[in-house]
């Protein structure tokens, strides 16, 4: 696992830019108890692209992900998945969209009463009833092998480390073969080696599955490694968006300060 990390495929090909957006966020506003968290956010992500959303703690990065997956409703603005606004969907419609998304929570959010294997099997048991028990077991083993967690099938989440929990969370997020992957602080609280392994894993998935990914993080090194584009949030707004080189050339004082402290 400790091999040198590859850089993400850049979207230099003009055809890549003409691809329709898989995720399109427009003019999104969200406030909690009168405190405005997001002020007119607009972002797009295409298939095969990884966007990293950076910013200080409490700037609404995780809220943005929760809005995209429909766990929160925006005060105004829209979230479109494959050109369908999720606000207009019924619960069944929203669930159909959610099945195309994989979500890795900041603390993995594994079901603590289930084993590692049962956690990964959980979405399959509910949505892939066509699979036999042995096929499901095979699929779980395959997913765990993909994230380097084979042989941990019967362990409880409390018996494995934080990094391992995130890998299992990632395997669970991939269980339904999503088109969109949303990662909330995938490397937070991990040592540099584990962080590097998670980054490598995300890169591998990006390469093999060509998913559209949004990674919320404050780890600039990780963002630079796994993302094609980066967006920096400050006080609820995107103040700069582009490649890492674009960010480095920015004259915005906050961006310069953010980059110099990371």
């Amino acid at each position: 696992m400790a091999t040198a990390l590859e850089t993400p495929t850049s979207l230099q090909d003009p055809e890549e830019h003409s691809r329709p957006s898989v995720v399109a966020v427009e003019d999104l506003f969200k406030a909690f108890d009168g405190q405005v968290v997001l002020k007119g956010i607009g972002l797009t992500v295409r298939r095969g692209e990884t966007l990293a959303v950076l910013g200080r703690s409490g700037t609404g990065k995780s809220v943005l992900l929760r809005l995209i997956v429909g766990l929160e409703t925006p005060d105004s603005g829209s979230v479109c998945i494959n050109a369908n606004s999720i606000a207009a969907l019924s619960l069944d419609g929203l669930n159909a969209v959610r099945m195309k998304m994989g979500f890795l929570f900041q603390h993995a959010a594994l079901y603590d009463s289930l084993t590692v294997g049962e956690n990964v099997a959980f979405p399959l048991e509910h949505h892939r009833r066509d699979l036999s028990k042995s096929e499901r077991g095979e699929r779980v083993n395959q997913l765990l092998a993909e994230v380097g967690m084979e042989g941990n099938l019967d362990k409880m989440p409390s018996d494995i480390s934080g990094g391992m929990q995130k890998r299992v969370g990632l395997a669970r997020a991939l269980a339904l073969e999503p088109e969109i992957l949303l990662l909330d602080e995938p490397t937070a609280g991990l040592d540099p080696i584990s962080s590097g392994e998670i980054d490598e894993l995300v890169l591998k998935l990006q390469r093999e599955r060509q998913m559209a990914s949004i990674v919320v993080t404050h780890d600039l090194h990780s963002a630079k490694t796994i993302a094609n584009r980066l967006a920096i949030l400050d006080q609820g707004s995107v103040i700069v968006e582009g490649t890492f080189d674009d960010l480095q050339q920015s004259t915005i004082p906050f961006v310069q300060e953010f980059l110099s402290h990371s």
Binding site: R66, L71, A96, F105, Q106, A109, F122
Partner: protein, 283 residues
Amino acid sequence: MNGQAITPSPEMLPAIPGHSSAHPPRPAIPTVGLVNGFFEWFGGLGTFSWRVLRAAVTPPYEWRELIRQLDEVGSQSLPLVALAGAAVGAVLSMEVRSSMARFGATSILPSAVVYSVIQEMGPTITGLVVSGRVGAGIGAELASMKVTEQIDAIEVSAINPYRFLASTRILACILMLPLLTVAADASGVLMGWVAQTLVQPISFHQFIVTGFAGSTLKDFLPPTFKTAVFGLIIGLVACFQGMRTRGGAEGVGRAATNSVVLASLFVILADVVLVKLILVVFQ
């Protein structure tokens, strides 16, 4: 500290004619907050109930989780409920005996024990014991899942948590409470007989025949099945308290405590209404 708002103390405020600065008028805010909280809680419970009902009656049905919850609520509570029923039966037998003896009416002791246990004590004690054990369990489990984002994880997996978590637990409570009540009643009557026969030997057959003399099913079925309502209350309140939790470990503790306190309170209040209803409808 620059830029920080300074809250004026009463001493800093200008004196208002007609008011003593030593005793500033007490604001009415706590009462308003309490009233708001009351309506907010019941409003939230109503919305929650509607979501659970809608989720429960639409497929897919979570049979496996329901069976797991039936076991959790039913078989896991059985020993405790039976023990509580037995204790109530024994105490009733001893207490009633001393009262009856004053009037020379010890011959009606079996009927007094059987009717008291089956019509009121068994159902009530089952409701309260299950409120404690299952209410706290469901409240704490769901609250813990809520604060660790496990419920969010279920939701983003395109699984309705109102169906998977709430409706299965509430339905299990509704179905198991009457069965647990039968167990509490049986152990109560049995221990009532044991307590009686230790003082004045009587065969179990004789005790039962005397105890149930002249009774019909309508004397026993309504009090037993009213506990399905207790089950609804316990499941609904515990799931609601658990799934609306905020604030980490403290929130989990608060949810568990509130689940038990509110479920027990509503079970007792519902009992008053149901007893009157049963008397009106069946007698």
